[in-house]
């Protein structure tokens, strides 16, 4: 069988890559994807833990994470649409009116 720590390391790497994407990308939609990637990484870790302790709670957490991700995506993408219609751009750096 596969050691759980493998899964954990994988999820760690994925999370890190998600963070990199989050800091590196400019397109708002892609930023969202980066967030989703991080969520996925965490999910993997949760499932791995559930398997490690043979308890279902981890899976339940994953379930909730997915639900929340869905809600977040719905609202977030609606916001993205609004932004792109108002600012005529998807570059997150063009959306900088909210400052001092």
């Amino acid at each position: 069988m596969v050691p759980i720590s493998y899964y954990l390391v994988l999820s760690g790497i994925l999370f890190g890559l998600g963070v990199i994407a989050f800091t590196f990308k400019r397109n708002i939609i892609t930023l969202f994807m980066a967030i989703e990637l991080m969520l996925n990484a965490v999910n993997l870790a949760l499932v791995a833990f559930a398997r490690a302790w043979n308890q279902l709670d981890g899976l339940v957490f994953v379930f909730f994470v997915i639900v929340v991700a869905a809600a977040e995506a719905a609202v977030g993408l609606a916001i993205v649409i609004t932004i792109s219609q108002n600012r005529r751009s998807l570059n997150v750096e063009d959306v900088n009116l909210l400052k001092f």
Partner: protein
């Protein structure tokens, strides 16, 4: 080096590859595709971990609904190649190194963490698949309240999306 381990490494490699593609891709749609790749391979890993239901949900909801939404929006806004501006000096110089450092940190941490050590020999990894029935019982009995809460959350999300959409046109 038995079958599951091979499968793990294949899928893991695909997942990491997908994640990297997500970063390097210029077209948002390519990023989306690579993210879908990651998700599918993760689903396979879930199967490997015996979490069949979660695997299915992962694909149905994540790959099948959320990412479709993403693709849909990309198509709707016809999002082209992203421009690599960097007005944010902070992000330009500090962001990437920090993130990479964080990656290494996490990997190191997880690798040496007690949980890793405890189950490194795959003791916990054995065992049959989680039965969907047990999972649903857990969900609808012990976690009933959070479940309802999430349903309300979804409702609110729908309303929010509606409002935003209405305001935009």
């Amino acid at each position: 080096m038995n079958f599951p381990v091979i499968l793990f490494f294949i899928c893991g490699a695909i997942a990491v590859l997908g994640a990297i593609l997500l970063i390097v891709a210029k077209e948002p749609i390519h990023s989306a595709l690579s993210l879908i790749l990651v998700m599918v391979s993760l689903a396979i890993l879930y199967l490997l971990l015996g979490a069949e239901f979660i695997a299915a949900v992962q694909i149905i909801v994540y790959a099948g609904a959320i990412m479709v939404l993403f693709v849909f929006v990309i198509m709707l806004l016809n999002a082209g190649v992203e421009e690599r501006t960097s007005f944010s000096k902070m992000a330009k110089y500090a962001g990437m190194p920090l993130a990479i450092f964080l990656l290494l940190e996490i990997a190191h941490w997880v690798w040496h963490a007690s949980i890793g050590a405890k189950v490194a020999n795959g003791a916990g990894a054995a065992g049959a698949a989680f039965s969907t029935r047990a999972l649903s019982l857990e969900l609808f009995q012990q976690y009933l309240f959070p479940f309802e809460a999430t349903s309300i959350l979804i409702l609110i999300a729908i309303l929010g999306a509606l409002v935003l959409a209405k305001r935009s046109d």
